[in-house]
């Protein structure tokens, strides 16, 4: 499993797609859990998390379940945790859940890359 993280519009997807030109990508804005479990790559995982939280369909132990189901998945996810704590409960939960999921996924990944200004910084490589 690989994880590409970074702030909004920093070129995360472009970096991941450059490293994996052959694979097929699904989008977090439109995919289901089942699709996630058999996808090769996902762009914008944070959008899946936001939708699944809204719909109440986010699996418990999401990160671990995803790793067990799809250990080769390449994941692109936005970092969303570095602002003022949001006033709305919904946004607070989204922000914290996304951060925790990324942390748990990173622990399982063989490669974690942080992208800023289109530049990669390798946080983990095994």
């Amino acid at each position: 499993m690989e994880l590409y993280i970074g702030g909004a519009w920093q070129g995360k997807s472009a970096c991941a797609q450059k490293r994996h030109p052959q694979i097929e990508w699904i989008r977090g804005s439109a995919c289901t859990w089942e699709e996630l479990c058999r996808a090769e790559g996902i762009l914008g995982l944070q959008e899946y998390i936001a939708r699944a939280l809204d719909e109440g369909t986010l699996p418990k132990n999401f990160a671990e379940k995803l790793f067990q189901a799809n250990p080769e998945l390449v994941i692109v996810c936005r970092e969303v945790g570095s602002g003022v704590v949001p006033l709305s409960h919904k946004e607070r939960i989204f922000r914290e859940t996304t951060g925790r999921i990324c942390t748990q996924l990173a622990a399982r990944c063989s490669l974690v890359v942080r992208v800023t200004c289109g530049l990669e910084m390798i946080l983990k490589m095994i």
Binding site: G6, G7, A8, W9, Q10, G11, Q46, R78, E79, V80, G81, S82, G83, V84, P86, E91, F94, R95, T98, T116, C117, G118, L119, M121
Partner: protein
């Protein structure tokens, strides 16, 4: 040595001080401090005062330029040295939301600022998209023009992309434009550094210890 250096970091990260020291470390005078912040409002004035104090004794000549960097010609005696441009987020805000920008494009209206991405009218999104393209080009032309006039160009920009907040369409367009300019500038630059707590994380061109 001919060099372009991009320095990024969050608010209060120490990126300005680090950039100033990077200029001096490089040793290629004259040192020009190119300020982009309009001295309007107490916050801006306080910030400008603090930055001026920080630069005392370092040998900078300060020039102010709020927009139209692409049309700037440095005085002959200031060419060929080091220019510290501070910073892209202010320059872009001036280009996008300054008076001439308002004439070019009818965004920044309060009714747009208070709607969100989902219920924003298509024509407004189209206008914003055009404004993004226009401002990216304008600022990049400015950077290229400036680079021709100095040996070392140090550019300070801003990390504003990690808070996970969904902003109104105008602010979102501003952020997307700054992100795009950051990416293009990083691509052009010989050195890119993120400053965290005053410490450099070298992302391009130098190695972190």
């Amino acid at each position: 040595m001919d060099r372009m250096i991009l320095v990024t970091g969050g608010s209060g990260s120490g990126k300005s001080a680090w950039a100033e020291n990077r200029v001096i470390e490089n040793g290629q005078g004259p040192y020009v401090y190119l300020a982009t912040m309009r001295p309007q409002g107490e916050d801006a004035e306080e910030r400008i005062r603090r930055h001026r104090e920080m630069r005392v004794g370092k040998g900078f000549v300060t020039l102010e330029r709020y927009t139209d960097l692409d049309e700037l010609t440095l005085p002959a005696e200031l060419r060929g040295g080091t220019v510290l441009l501070e910073d892209l987020s202010n320059l872009l805000a001036n280009e996008m939301f300054g008076s001439s920008a308002q004439e070019r494009c009818d965004v920044g209206r309060s009714d747009v600022e208070h709607c969100d991405m989902e219920n924003c009218a298509d024509n407004v999104l189209t206008e914003l998209y055009a404004l993004r393209q226009q401002c990216t080009e304008k600022v990049m032309d400015g950077l290229r023009a400036l680079r021709q006039q100095c040996a070392v160009l140090v550019i300070v920009t801003n990390e504003i992309f990690h808070d996970g907040v969904q902003y109104d369409p105008v602010t979102t367009a501003y952020m997307q434009t700054l992100a795009e300019i950051n990416l293009k500038a990083a691509c052009m630059a010989d050195e890119v550094t993120e400053v965290v707590c005053g410490l450099p994380l070298f992302m391009k061109g130098r190695k972190t210890v």
